[in-house]
């Protein structure tokens, strides 16, 4: 049969496109990952911040006829009862402050409300009552205190009678503070985006573009050190990023200064003169970081287009971090100051609202400066690497294997696609099966992991047994696996608990509540199957079978183990579950590497999950033991010994 020229042309184009890494990234990886990740990551974070906000202890002074209210007081009336029932409120005992608006603004007290002691009676009689609180809308704690107290008052009254809550009158935050609070986060986000957009193209042009145009080799002929070359390029990218950011900011503030007035808004968006240096400082800091990061990524790329493909995902990583400033109740603290970009946004928001948290600002500066230096050092090291500078276009990402030879491990590019596929499959299948109950959803979403692993191995032309590490291990490996399975629940529980040190929620507080109801309603064999056997089999064959084997073919075992553990921890897109899974991933990866088989890891993982399940069912006996810090510490030590001893004996 004669083939159609049209299909021949289309076929060649498609083959060419599919062999191109950058198309794969922008066409498949980004859209598949982006939306679930945004929903999971950002949705969870916002919800948890809002939940925290309602639990934040606040200091409130409620005066009943000039006397400070305390829940211990036996004051009759529905309002008092409702107030007394509010959680996380510290009732101020002082009845007066010298300067009440200042006390509220500076956080000495979060809310001052005057109530008539006969409020309930007045409402019952139908007398109009006006209540004007003193609160500061620019402070999250103060705004939350008023929201809670207001809800209590409104909830207790009879809806038929007039009650005027004059919230606006009592707001002691000035327009700048309010603007800083509501627009500060937004402005910080804009600054970050502008810096990123400004650094994006010049960085690609300076390194990848220079390689593509063939001028890099000419430049390398000059008697100039590589560090000088990189720093010169960096300076140029930085200047462009800062200037473009400044032009953007100037145009934006000129445009929006007029806006609030014409809309009659009580907030101002105009940058007060004293805020200008703050914003410029932020712009310079974030441009310095992005210029360095973009330059490093661009140096790695062979061509301008490849540079774009590397930088676009970086932009998507930065986006959610930049949006952190707009989240409710997230303040710059010593732990948030450790998160790059987010720390700068929170700092800018604080500075724009007139607060200067010196300690946190210093940490932010140190974090940003170290990252910038690290990225620059990386660029310089890349500029000294011949394989990076003289990369030619011949080595293509191999996704589809050749038909003539079966591969021993899945190619790295196919592995990337498999991970994205697994992520999407778990998210979509899991969320759709959720309606049918916990067990079908769990089995379905984890089962899809197995399916993706099998498809990847099949399509990439990899040998099944070696690609998934399905070979049988030695007898001793089973013993090691059993011991690890018994130790691992203590390790992951301990890590889940220790992560509170870095400001994360403890894992036990989030999972227990969710699974409790399921544990009560399902039969034990079904639960064991869904939460121990299926995850043990599916996650291990995917991660310690295929993933680890594939990474192991291109890098040192230690990096393969760490890389696999990171991918394993990140699969659920849940910061709270990351560290426990990462820790378990390290141990399981080491086990699979030393025993050269996935089966011991399957056994250890199944045992681990089974024990955690038992812990949920018997919280008093096993559950509390799992959360015992001493048991956790001992388990970590024993796990290290478990792997160290055979090594040492050899």
């Amino acid at each position: 049969m004669k083939s159609s020229p049209l299909l021949t042309v289309a076929g060649r184009e498609l083959k060419d496109t599919l062999r191109d890494r950058r198309t794969l990234i922008t066409m498949l990886v980004l859209p598949v990952i982006l939306y679930p990740a945004l929903l999971l990551g950002f949705g969870k974070l916002t919800a948890s911040r809002t939940r925290d906000l309602n639990r934040t202890p606040v200091r409130v002074l409620v005066r009943l006829d000039g006397q400070s209210f305390s829940p211990a007081d036996r004051v009759a009336g529905d309002v008092a009862v409702a107030l007394a029932a509010l959680p996380a409120i510290e009732w101020e005992t002082r009845t007066r402050f010298d300067d009440e608006p200042a006390a509220v603004r500076e956080g000495e007290v979060d809310l001052i409300v005057d109530l008539p002691s006969n409020l309930t009676a007045q409402l019952a009689e139908g007398t109009p009552v006006k209540i004007a609180p003193v609160y500061a809308s620019a402070r999250d704690a103060s705004a939350s205190a008023w929201k809670r107290v207001r809800a209590a008052i409104e909830g207790a009254r009879d809806a038929r009678f007039p009650l005027e809550l004059a919230a606006a009158e009592g707001d002691v935050s000035n327009p700048e503070e309010r603007g800083g609070q509501s627009f500060g986060g937004l402005l910080a986000m804009m600054v970050v985006f502008m810096a990123m957009a400004g650094a994006f193209y010049p960085a690609i042009d300076a390194a990848a573009g220079e390689k593509e145009r063939g001028t890099l080799e000419t430049l390398l002929l000059a008697p100039v050190g590589r560090a000088t070359l990189v720093l010169g390029k960096y300076l140029a990218v930085l200047v462009v990023a800062v200037v473009s950011g400044l032009v953007n900011l100037a145009s934006m503030s000129l445009t929006f200064t007029a806006l609030p007035k014409s809309f009659g808004s009580a907030q101002t968006l105009s940058l007060p003169l004293q805020a200008v240096p703050v914003v410029i400082l932020g712009l310079v800091l974030v441009s310095a970081l992005f210029a360095a990061v973009c330059l490093a990524l661009s140096t790695f790329a062979r061509t301008y287009k490849e540079g774009q493909a590397y930088l676009t995902p970086a932009l998507l990583v930065v986006m959610p971090l930049a949006m952190v400033g707009t989240l409710p109740n997230l303040q710059l603290s010593l732990s948030t100051a450790l998160v790059p970009v987010a720390n700068l946004c929170l700092l800018l928001k604080d500075l724009l609202s007139g607060r200067t948290p010196w300690r946190e600002a210093l940490v932010t500066l140190v974090v940003l400066a170290s990252l910038t230096s690290a990225a620059l050092a990386f660029s310089i090291s890349l500029f000294r690497r011949e394989d990076v500078l003289f990369r030619d276009g011949r080595s293509r990402a191999r996704v589809l294997g050749s038909s003539s030879r079966r591969l021993a491990a899945v190619p790295a590019a196919a592995l990337g696609l498999a991970y994205v596929g697994a992520f999407a499959a778990m998210f979509h299948i899991g969320s759709r099966l959720m309606g049918y109950g916990f067990i079908p959803a769990t089995v379905g979403s984890l089962g899809s992991l197995l399916l993706v692993a099998a498809l990847t191995v099949g399509i990439s032309g990899t040998e099944f047994r070696s690609g998934l590490s399905l070979g049988l291990p030695s007898a001793r490996a089973w013993g090691q696996a059993g011991s690890l399975g018994l130790l691992l629940p203590f390790v992951s529980a301990a890590v889940g608990h220790w992560q509170t040190w870095v400001g994360l929620e403890s894992q036990d507080s989030t999972t227990v509540a969710g699974i409790e109801a399921v544990v009560r309603n399902a039969s034990l064999p079904a639960l064991f199957f869904a939460t121990a056997i299926v995850p043990g089999l599916a996650e291990e064959i995917f991660f310690r079978g295929m993933f680890l084997r594939s990474l192991g073919a291109v890098c040192k075992p230690i990096y393969a183990i760490i890389g696999t553990a990171v991918a394993f921890g990140a699969l659920h897109c849940d910061a709270v579950r990351f560290f426990p899974q990462f820790a378990a991933g390290l141990a399981l990866g080491t086990l699979a590497t030393t025993t050269r088989s996935v089966w011991p890891a399957v056994l250890a993982h199944t045992l681990h999950n089974a024990l955690l399940l038992l812990g949920e069912m018997k919280p008093d006996a096993l559950g509390s033991a799992l959360l015992n810090p001493w048991a956790g510490g001992a388990a970590v030590a024993l796990t290290v010994v478990l792997f160290a001893v055979p090594r040492w004996r050899r």
Binding site: G214, T215, L220, E386
Partner: protein, 253 residues
Amino acid sequence: MPVPTIEVANLSKCFFDRQRGEIRAVDGISFRCFPGRVFGLLGPNGAGKTTTLRMLSCALKPTTGSITVVGADAASEPDRVRRSLGFLSGATGLYERLSAREILEFFGRLFGIGDTHLRGRIDELATLLHMGDFLDRGCGKLSAGQRQKVSIARTLIHDPPVIILDEPTANLDVIVAREVVQFVEAERRAGKTILYSTHIMSEVERLCDDVALVDEGRLLVSGPLAEVRGSRSMEEVFLDLHDRARGRAVGTA
């Protein structure tokens, strides 16, 4: 015996390719070049010529062996070597958004030439290479021949004693190619050392005083042109050596 300006001893370069494993692009090559002579480095495509020249220009580091250029060791004093070298190859492109003059100024400054001297040098090169018409035009708008002239001027901007030209006449029409050849002859008369890499045998016969033939990274023969050639044409010598080298490789395999 004159002092050699380029001395390459036992030079090797290995690359690692994930699919093909270790590749020995250059394998134990040694040769010497002298002032006032043109040294022809010949070999088929993929023979290891460009890798050898990149090591000479200090862009790549040799796996083993040493390179000395005008008394400076490439491993320990790469910047001194770079100052003594003018290097031109197909991979040394020009900044398209800069004019010829701006490019020459840029590289002149990187080589530490003062502004007054630099202006004089640019005028001198513009006259020598007949570049007056397009000196201030953007390089993106120049013809292949004009671009090659800008590249040659860039190579000579710091007046180096050693000039390395990697296939300088590739993709040029015969008129510009002839100008390039004449320019090489003039530089030889001026006492420069010229390392000329090509696979155009007529140019070899016209220009080179000494030749070295490389194939699959190894040096097959080297010496004065007349000795290497004997009574045969350079093309015959080249093809004969190439066939024998391949035959030997097959025979020993």
